[in-house]
Amino acid sequence: MIYPVIDNELKKYTFQQNSDQASASRPIDTSQIRLYIMIVFASAITLLILSATFNLLVDAKGLYGMVRVGGFNSHKAFQNNYGKEVKTFGVRAYLPNTVFFGASTVDRGIVPECDRTASSGGPLRIYNAASGGDSPPSFLAEYPNVRSIGTVQRIEIETRFPSHPMLSAKQHGRLSIPQDDSVFSRYIQPWLPPRFAINFLSDFFSWKAFILNFKTVAANRGATASTFYGYGADGRFDQDWLKATSPRVVDETDALNLAVNYHRLFASGLTNEVKSDLSYVAAFAAAAARDHLELDFFIPPEHALLLLSYSIGGVWPSYEQFKRDLLEATDAARERYSVTIRVFDFGAFNQVTEQTVKAAARATTFDPYYEDLVHFRKLVGDFILAKMLSCQISEQVPDGFGIQLNRNNIHAHLVEQRAKLDLYRSSNTELASALTERLARTTMRRE
């Protein structure tokens, strides 16, 4: 056998005769190898079967199918922290007709409790496909998966000002829906069962399902009704429930720090070409027209302190322009592709977004609307659902929370918001001056 050897002085390789040529041809007991291979496959199959059996016993029908059953299993659907795992495989038996795309805000805030009936008739089956750090370009990448479910009729898209800058060029480069035209999907996929059926089966063999089900069993041991629904016997928000779903109390210092950080996070991606960032609107519209879907875009309900930071940081005009551009882009897409598109604005001053920012000494209990300035709690998610999808929830949606934008009302809406901004600033002078000082400090440091 000839093989290369590098010489000691690293000049170059030489290729030498191997003296151990006979080593490969030593007699080997074939039956031993055969037994080894059998043991490998038997062990693998045994583990897969054991895990599948456990998963089947704990969660045979999929999470969303059991969302209305109190007690066992419901815990997962209402435990926001498990959102990622829930949505990953919860879709298998659920066959949703409405899908939510968004970042961590939607991921945590929208839990399909109002999964009952839409006022327009027919059951709503909401599938929350949101994920931390996601943004419209990454939703586009996910679109083929949603389409493959086959039952989706409506897509709700969180669209953030100006675009979610947590995009990494290394991860999300494209602004179009990937054409799944691989050899596999073109020639082999048609012969296979639908993808959701494969998901259905594969979930039984999933480690995450296994671990999650394991935790479900443990979590449900001490579960009470309030664990699932969020209200105590007195009709008030159950602090334990809030703690379990969003374990965070924001005090004034935290809020100001977060305002500065989020302001920089969102404003850092700001360019003069906000319009070009909205090219995903057309991409979604084209796909929706092809697949006969309806689209809703919504601007998320950011806390008033963050909105104030836009004003103090000098990007409020861009925020307004973003809303106008979004409306313009959806109007153009609607006309071009003949598809139903609505735009909702929750990023405005109202009773929800103006949730009081507490001083540190009083920040011992949870507030119902926000866990920080952008991550809204489930109740706000319910309000969004009620507003956009007209579904029934037990709470009254506060007046002025969310507005459907159109050509006729946008100007008045923006003027009204400017006035509310001034009012908020004048009634929160200490917060405003602290925020001004901090924003100036970080800007100086960056310079």
């Binding site: 000839i2 590098i6 690293l10 000049k11 498990y82 720090n257």
Partner: protein
């Protein structure tokens, strides 16, 4: 595999043709038009190689034929990988407005180009004197190593391709190859993807200039350090395992690099086949260490800068290469001082060794920050936060835990499972890197015994847990395979080195 079993009944040529066809189908499935580029490049290279072989050893025509081949391959790589980068920099420097070409990078072009260049130089040096077309086609297209290495030298596979009845899917080949493949799959699907969830949130937040905590910065950077190792070494193991199933021995690519106690040692353990290529086909021809220390340091820096640029068209990659160049220069300078090690106790020697390891590991981690960061600003921010003394003190008090959302960094996928989850996962993964025997140590003897000889440059290992077809190994490999499959059902991230 079924095709291979059938093809091998018809002889050596049939199995080779089958593997080439399968490799091309594999490549075509990704992006069909680029298969023609691959085949075109193979044809031109093979033509040049055959022409060069026909020329007398010292002839100018031989020299220029080989030069044309090398330049052509570099230009092809340059167009696909660096045209956008170069245009961008011209526009920025000269204030021009040249159109930036958006070229899709052909899969594995960086690896394939290096293999082809190495063979051209081997032919020029007359280390390779005969090439048959099928062997060359196999050498370039063989699917396990086509995309992300290991970077194979033609002579180390040529003899295998030509050995009668060598390329076969047999029980013994399958037993060894499948076991190595499963180890690689486990590294990728279970370990790399597990730590990967901590990486992007931190680096993305740094890109936007968010104020990271020291613990968050360390979490992201340590996680990336581990992810890159498990991901790439996992891929290499899978490639080696797949090749071994067909009776082909590929060189190992990793040898527990994070155990290195010097940067020189690190590069003997990390991406071994790339270091080998850079050393033999770049560093040595540049003069290596034969033209004085100054020239040696210059060569080291140049090689590392080129190595950095090879990984990606970006200044952060160049900075990464430059940092390693500086590290290597420092390391060689230190060695040249010839300090005599004092006669110390075993404990003190161990302490010195630990200090050397810590320094090396820290240097490697710092360089990875540039490797992964999108911008220099992000890298600087991360390094600043990582070195903040108050933050470091806090981190040691509270661990790497980063539950919830701080400074815009969300670990929402992970923080739910356990408050100390992140710390535990990262240190567990680190312990596996440092304490567990690597694939080389486990499989070297079995490959040599069951398939064929390995490259002789490998370190010698005295592994206590040599792989053998025993019951215990069968159960271990089976459970690892099932675990990897279960981890993959939820989805897995693409291999990192596919980008390079």
């Amino acid at each position: 595999m079924l095709g291979s079993l059938i093809a091998q009944r018809f002889g050596d040529t049939a199995i080779k043709l089958w593997l080439i066809a399968a490799s091309l189908a594999f490549y075509t499935a990704w992006y069909p038009p680029y298969t023609f580029i691959l085949l075109g490049s193979i044809s031109v290279n093979f033509g040049l190689l055959r022409f060069a072989l026909l020329q007398p050893p010292q002839s100018h025509l031989r020299f220029w034929t080989i030069t044309a081949g090398v330049v052509g391959n570099v230009c092809l790589l340059g167009w696909f990988k660096y045209s956008g980068f170069i245009t961008l920099n011209i526009n920025a420097t000269l204030q021009t407005n040249l159109l930036i070409p958006h070229v899709i990078l052909p899969l594995g072009i960086s690896f394939v180009t290096f293999q082809k260049i190495a063979l051209l130089i081997d032919v020029y040096r007359r280390d390779v004197r005969h090439i048959e077309f099928l062997s060359y086609l196999m050498f370039v297209t063989f699917f396990p190593q086509l995309i992300a290495g290991p970077i194979v030298l033609f002579p180390e596979v040529q003899t295998q391709y030509q050995e009668p009845k060598r390329i076969r899917l047999t029980l013994r080949h399958f037993a060894v190859g499948f076991s190595i493949f499963v180890v690689g799959l486990f590294k990728k699907a279970v370990l790399a993807d597990l730590v990967a969830t901590f990486v992007s949130p931190v680096f993305d937040a740094a890109t936007t200039g968010a104020m990271l905590r020291t613990s968050e910065a360390w979490t992201g950077v340590l996680a990336y350090t581990l992810q890159l190792y498990f991901d790439f070494s996992g891929y290499s193991d899978m490639a080696i395992g797949l090749a071994a199933m067909f009776g082909i021995v590929l060189p190992f690519n990793f040898a527990s690099p994070y155990r290195a106690t010097s940067i020189i040692d690190f590069w003997r353990r990390w991406h071994i086949t790339l270091s080998r290529f850079l050393r033999v086909y770049l560093y040595v021809p540049l003069g290596g260490n034969r033209k004085g220390p100054l020239r040696r340091y210059l060569n080291l820096m140049l090689v590392m800068l080129i190595g950095g640029l090879w990984h990606g068209a970006g200044w952060t990659f160049v900075a990464w290469g430059g940092l390693h160049g500086i590290y290597l220069m420092t390391n060689h300078f230190w060695r040249s001082l010839n300090f005599r090690r004092p006669n110390t106790s075993a404990a003190a020697a161990l302490g010195l060794r630990f200090a050397a390891w810590s320094l090396t590991f820290l240097a490697v981690i710092v360089a990875w920050v540039f490797f992964r960061a999108d911008t220099f600003g992000a890298a600087a921010l991360l390094l600043k936060q990582m070195s903040d003394p108050v933050g470091i003190f806090e981190m040691f008090r509270h661990g790497l835990r980063s539950g919830g959302v701080y400074a815009g960094v969300s670990f929402s996928q992970t923080n739910s499972l356990n408050p100390q989850y992140i710390t535990v996962v990262i240190f567990l993964a680190l312990a596996i890197c440092l304490a567990m025997p690597n694939t080389q140590a486990i499989f070297t003897r079995s490959i040599e015994r069951w398939i064929g000889p390995l490259h002789d440059e490998r370190p010698q290992y005295a592994s206590l847990i040599d792989w053998r077809p025993s019951h215990a190994w069968g159960v271990t490999v089976g459970l690892a395979a099932a675990s990897a499959l279960m981890a993959m059902t939820v989805g897995s991230s693409p291999f990192l080195y596919f980008n390079f």
